[in-house]
């Protein structure tokens, strides 16, 4: 593309800083909701069931919304300052729609106590809920707005890449397979973000169809949709978005890690095969959410397990080994950025493994909807995506320039990791003891052993979240100090 002018560069940089600050403000608020849920589990304070479930819903939707939005914004900044021209107006449009929809969701949850969980599993939002109908309407409209914002942003990015790199198949890297000498080369981020964002488009469209059905149901209460079909749709939406949040964040690692190791990372045939395979598996792995719907056709169950297993192979063999071959004997200086990237990959691997365990049908029949499920996805979110985000933020804040002064930041990182590990371990402990997920309290189940295990784990979790907060605070201070230091902007590349 043509050179970016300094003002254009500064404007794109401002957008990512706005996103970064938004992340830093909203993230601890949503963590606080999570902590309140664990406090209720630990029986340390009385939180009404209505409150609990509205917190749970806002926490789940908010976290996924925030993390995916930031993951997208991160791709946007890297692409727009290096490879393709992206319109700032579209960037801010996405930002505003995300913000408005988050406000809508927060109003519905905090004022109207809207509480059907992130997945709004049909027909729960309409039958027997303790929340008023307007909250269902407002949340549906907010989510639709969010979807529209994301969709427009993603399509703009995909279009810009297609224009720059000569069409969609080039973005998928297919020219590498044909072995032509004069092929159009692409940077890894183009391949990886195409493969992450196109399933995102499909997921958002599916989500939109679902939400429109919900709006119809709000207007015409006598309607009756097929519950299993709608569950398949909502899981396709939610699972895919959660999955590609990680893949989007990984594109930054592909782009930024080489700057620290001085080892360029190119697209090659193996990478193309691997990411194209990922594309396929990401779109069908969601079927593992229906294992305990025994009436779901058997072939879909088997495809679910095969796809879940298969998706682990390219992810670990290519991305993880790629990261290792970047770092192995590289004499890299272990500043916060390469450290968070390496640790983030490790968190992803661990969360991925416990996900694969749970995606085994014969394990799922006792782990399904126990705390094992939040255990695995919180692992790869908290110790994966969130670590990548912090690495990214340190990068944007200009960490590269003064690598050696990151000691305090690293202390914050370690504190965060220890807190997160304690919190996660208690989710796994709960899962191993069959403690159910989405219970506001374990006091009513009448199974003493499970009740006790649940309370005990939650107490340690609350303590660990406290440690995590201290780590966050330290990282915030160091980030803030770096950001406010003048003159960093010029020496980034």
């Amino acid at each position: 593309m043509e050179e970016l002018t300094t003002t254009e560069y500064k404007k794109q940089r401002k957008l990512i800083i706005v996103w970064g600050i938004t992340f830093l403000v909203v993230f601890p608020l949503l963590v606080t909701l999570g902590m309140l849920m664990r406090i209720s589990h630990a029986e340390l304070a009385d939180i009404s069931a209505e409150r609990f479930y509205s917190f749970m819903t806002l926490h789940g939707l908010g976290m996924i919304g925030l993390l995916f939005s930031f993951a997208f914004a991160g791709i946007w900044y890297l692409l727009s300052t290096r490879y393709v021209k992206l319109k700032l107006s579209v960037g801010y449009f996405v930002y505003i729609t995300v913000l408005l929809s988050v406000i809508g969701l927060a109003v519905a949850a905090l004022i109207g106590k809207f509480g059907p969980g992130w997945y709004l599993l049909y027909p729960l939002p309409f039958i027997g809920g303790s929340w008023p109908v307007w909250t269902t309407g407002l949340s549906t409209v907010s989510l639709l707005a969010l979807g529209v914002g994301w969709l427009i942003g993603i399509l703009h990015v995909l279009y810009a890449m297609a224009k720059e790199y000569g069409g969609f198949t080039n973005m998928l890297g297919w020219q590498y397979i044909k072995n032509k000498e004069d092929k159009r080369e692409i940077p890894v981020i183009v391949l990886a973000s195409t493969i992450s964002l196109v399933p995102g488009v499909l997921a958002i469209l599916a989500g939109a169809v679902l939400l429109i059905m919900y709006l119809l149901q709000v207007m015409e209460p006598s309607l009756n949709f097929d519950a299993l079909m709608l569950k398949n749709i909502v899981m396709f939406f939610g699972h895919t978005i959660a999955n590609i949040t990680m893949y989007c964040a990984v594109t930054w690692v592909y782009t930024l890690l080489p700057e620290y190791t001085k080892r360029p990372w190119y697209v090659d045939k193996v990478l193309v095969y691997s990411w194209n395979a990922t594309f396929f598996f990401v779109c069908i792995a969601f079927l593992h959410h229906m294992y305990m719907d025994l009436e779901q056709p058997l072939y879909l169950q088997i495809i679910g397990q095969v796809a879940s297993y298969s998706s682990a192979i390219p992810a670990t063999a290519i991305t993880m080994f790629g990261i290792i071959s970047q770092l192995y004997h590289s004499r890299v200086k272990w500043g916060v950025v390469p450290l968070t990237f390496l640790f983030g990959a490790a968190g992803w691997a661990i969360g991925g493994l416990s996900a694969v365990v749970d995606s085994t049908i014969s394990f799922n029949k006792v782990l399904h909807n126990t705390l094992w499920v939040p255990a695995h996805f919180h692992t790869y979110m908290l110790l994966g995506v969130v670590l990548f985000i912090f690495g990214y933020l340190y990068y944007v804040a200009g960490e590269k320039k003064d690598i050696h002064t990151g000691g305090v930041a690293k202390l914050g990182l370690w504190t965060y990791i220890i807190g997160a590990a304690g919190f996660l371990l208690m989710f796994y402990y709960g899962g191993m003891n069959s403690v159910p997920r989405r219970y506001n309290t374990y006091s009513g189940m009448g199974v003493d052993a499970t009740h006790q295990a649940g309370v005990y784990g939650a107490k340690i979790a609350v303590f660990s979240i406290g440690i995590l907060f201290i780590g966050l605070l330290i990282m915030y201070v160091t980030l803030f100090l770096k950001l406010t230091k003048k003159d960093e902007t010029k020496n980034l590349d």
């Binding site: 297993y309 290792i324 085994t360 782990l367 909807n369 499970t450």
Partner: protein
């Protein structure tokens, strides 16, 4: 539930596998960090890593394939070889369970039943599980607090869940699909005689 081996329950196996995996990942991270100070040409380093990558890839493919085949043996789905010695009809509702012995002739919403039921030990029981309002999940817990098996209870669908209770005793039924505010209190009981 002792199922795969005589040593570990499914839950314990899941924990053990994940723990071993975590140790391996942590060991690799430590290795990469601790050895990174040595300088090596990037092509040499890459060649070495790729040597292991190839082995890892084929090893993982083989492992995934074998695990897939083996694990399918314990799937909870209906088979033609199933012999149902007893039938229990289960209807979930907001917020409780109605159960009757035998196949109920009533439509689910008209079926009367109790949240407690008595069944024999050592026989394969077929639970015919459905719901009359939202999604629930019929999960059976043993006395030591382990979930032994489960099935979604979905409006408009009849899921057939089979289980053979080896030991007599009291088992609890919990709901494992979020179904509204009193979800954590939606319990039932199975007495195995």
């Amino acid at each position: 539930m002792r199922h795969f081996t005589t040593f570990l329950s499914i839950q314990e196996s899941a924990g053990t596998i994940s723990m071993i995996g975590t140790f391996v990942v942590v060991a690799v991270v430590l290795f990469v960090v601790l050895t990174s100070g040595k300088a090596e040409d990037k092509y040499e380093a890459k060649k070495k890593v790729y040597y292991y990558r190839r082995r890892y890839f084929w090893g993982l493919m083989a492992l995934a394939f074998i695990t897939l085949l083996i694990s399918f043996k314990w799937m909870p789905y209906s088979k033609t070889s199933d012999v149902d010695e007893e039938v229990v009809t289960v209807v979930g509702f907001q917020w409780g369970w109605r159960m009757v012995n035998g196949a109920s002739k009533d439509a689910p919403k008209d079926m009367m039943g109790e949240s407690e039921i008595t069944i024999p030990a050592g026989k394969t029981i077929k639970f015919d599980v459905t719901s009359i309002d939202v999604n629930h999940n019929f999960a059976i817990y043993d006395k030591s607090g382990n979930c032994v098996t489960q099935s979604q209870a979905m409006p408009g669908y009849h899921n057939n869940l089979r289980y053979k209770f080896q030991k007599p005793g009291n088992y609890k039924i919990l709901c494992l699909e979020y179904c509204g505010v009193p979800h954590a209190f939606m319990v039932g009981e199975v007495h195995v005689k």
